[in-house]
Symmetry: C2
Subunit: 301 residues, 2 copies
């Protein structure tokens, strides 16, 4: 079955012309409207994975390998100038800022802790804005950080995040909620749930990411998950089934990446896909192989 | 964009032939593999909606209107013979048995209540089997029926249901988990979550349904939700955005039904789509209009 934009109108016309011959209850070919823009595959990585000791060495390696962007960790806060200076010698951009949960402070039972969480969050947003990053990755709470129920956390998140989303929009960036898997967080384990939280927050600054490792644990369909994420999706984490390089668990990775990349094409995805994983074997050799695997999956999807 | 089974191989061949001309990071048209079987739209309804006083009158009306099946309520348990006798005068089949939660007994804190829940569940399965029904609709717990957390309920469900699923398979039917919306149940609100529970239960007797009314509250994408449901999906409830007849909230129903029906076509859906809704206006006139709306959406999807 081919989804082909040029064929869309022709297919519709054929369906109309042939309607009289088709019993209503039979399946005509399904038509999915084209995305607003054609999707792109832009690769990024966290720095821990990348060969090299110092930042400039790592960035130079990434550029040679064909990466488009780098995903800094939250520890970059306060050291933005160093990263920006190093990036100036390359064509690399900053994808997302991998911030996190601030120890679950945003859903704390203590009001002062919750207020401090908002201050910390805004500081991370300032950094992301300074780096022209696509967004601040946020986990409302890892399981070990909260004794609240799913419903309580959801209510606090939907109450608290819109104001933070507005702040992010004004700064020129956004918040990226990250669904994890049950071993890390019982709250927010699926992309569709994250998308529904974004919809309920109703702020253009509250958006979403998807992670191929967590999806492998929690989703039955990477395609379904990414279509549910839809226009809220602005970052993707890449890993194999066992959280090494994409493609290093080839048999399990191929169908998942084909499925997920079909989804990214159907939604017209415009942001980065970024390595968050370990590596089995020599990184200098294995990372380029993994990048080639991803580009092959993208072509085939 | 057209998804066309006949175009699938041709599209693949073209992609291979043209690969040398395409930069790896650009989007080729997305290809979704064809479903194992072509999807069908088979319409069913609960009896409360149908004009007529007595069962035979209602069934005769349904047959004239072009329904394929009827969805009995759990109160049919013990009165299977009456329904079977009435059905013998028609071509109608039984779709799902709309059973429910047995007051949340399956997640009760009382062991005897939990044990009784299993007995009740098996009784419903026996009825479904006798009626050659496609499955027993089950809600683990409405919110008012439990003080347990989301994680506790999930654990009990995944522990308890597989044995019930085996019983259902032996009887020739299945369990159909129903995701509801937050006003009815905080546990199991999205189709992707239900699909993940089915996967974790790992019993061919534990399956899933989707409901267009609940999806309207909880999902960002009916297409994404139904693709996540995938092969676990064996029943669908139909309603408009405000839970009257599909199409009676035309502006909101059209995109949702196009989207959802595209999903059913892509997964090769083989089971029933069944009215569970009220009616605005004269039922004799409005139900056929709604059926025509559904067939039009199916053709256009």
């Amino acid at each position: 079955m081919t989804i082909n934009r040029r064929g869309f109108l022709a297919g519709s016309a054929a369906a109309v012309a042939g309607a009289g011959l088709v019993r209503a209850a039979q399946a005509a070919p399904a038509r999915i409207p084209p995305p607003p823009r054609e999707a792109v595959l832009k690769l990024s990585s966290q720095l821990g994975l990348i060969p090299g000791k110092e930042l400039p060495e790592k960035l130079a390696w990434m550029e040679r390998a064909g990466f488009d962007a780098v995903e800094p960790h939250g520890n970059i806060i306060g050291q933005e100038k160093e990263l920006l200076a190093a990036l100036r010698n390359t064509k690399l951009k900053v994808s997302a800022l991998c911030w996190g949960s601030a120890k679950g402070a945003i859903v704390s039972r203590d009001a002062a802790t919750r207020a401090d969480a908002v201050v910390q969050f805004k500081r991370a947003i300032d950094t992301a804005a300074e780096l022209q990053s696509t967004g601040v990755i946020h986990v409302p709470a890892f399981s070990a950080e909260t004794d609240r129920t799913n419903q309580e956390i959801r209510e606090i998140v939907v109450d608290t995040l819109p104001a933070i989303g507005e702040y992010a929009v004004k700064a020129g960036t956004r918040v990226l909620l990250e669904p994890l898997n049950r071993k890390e967080a019982f709250f927010l384990r699926q992309v569709a749930d994250g998308a529904a939280i974004c919809r309920d927050c109703n702020s253009p600054g509250i958006c979403l990411m998807a992670d191929f490792y967590h999806m492998g644990v929690e989703e039955t369909s990477c395609l379904g998950a990414i279509l549910s994420g839809g226009a809220y999706l602005h970052h993707v984490h890449l890993a194999s089934k066992t959280r090494v390089l994409p493609g290093q668990d080839a048999e399990e990775d191929e169908p998942r990446y084909l499925d997920g990349f079909r989804g990214l094409k159907l939604i017209g995805y415009q942001d980065y896909c970024s390595f968050e994983c370990g590596c089995r074997g020599n990184r200098e050799e294995e990372i380029p192989k993994s990048m080639a695997f991803l580009r092959r999956m993208w072509e085939q999807a």
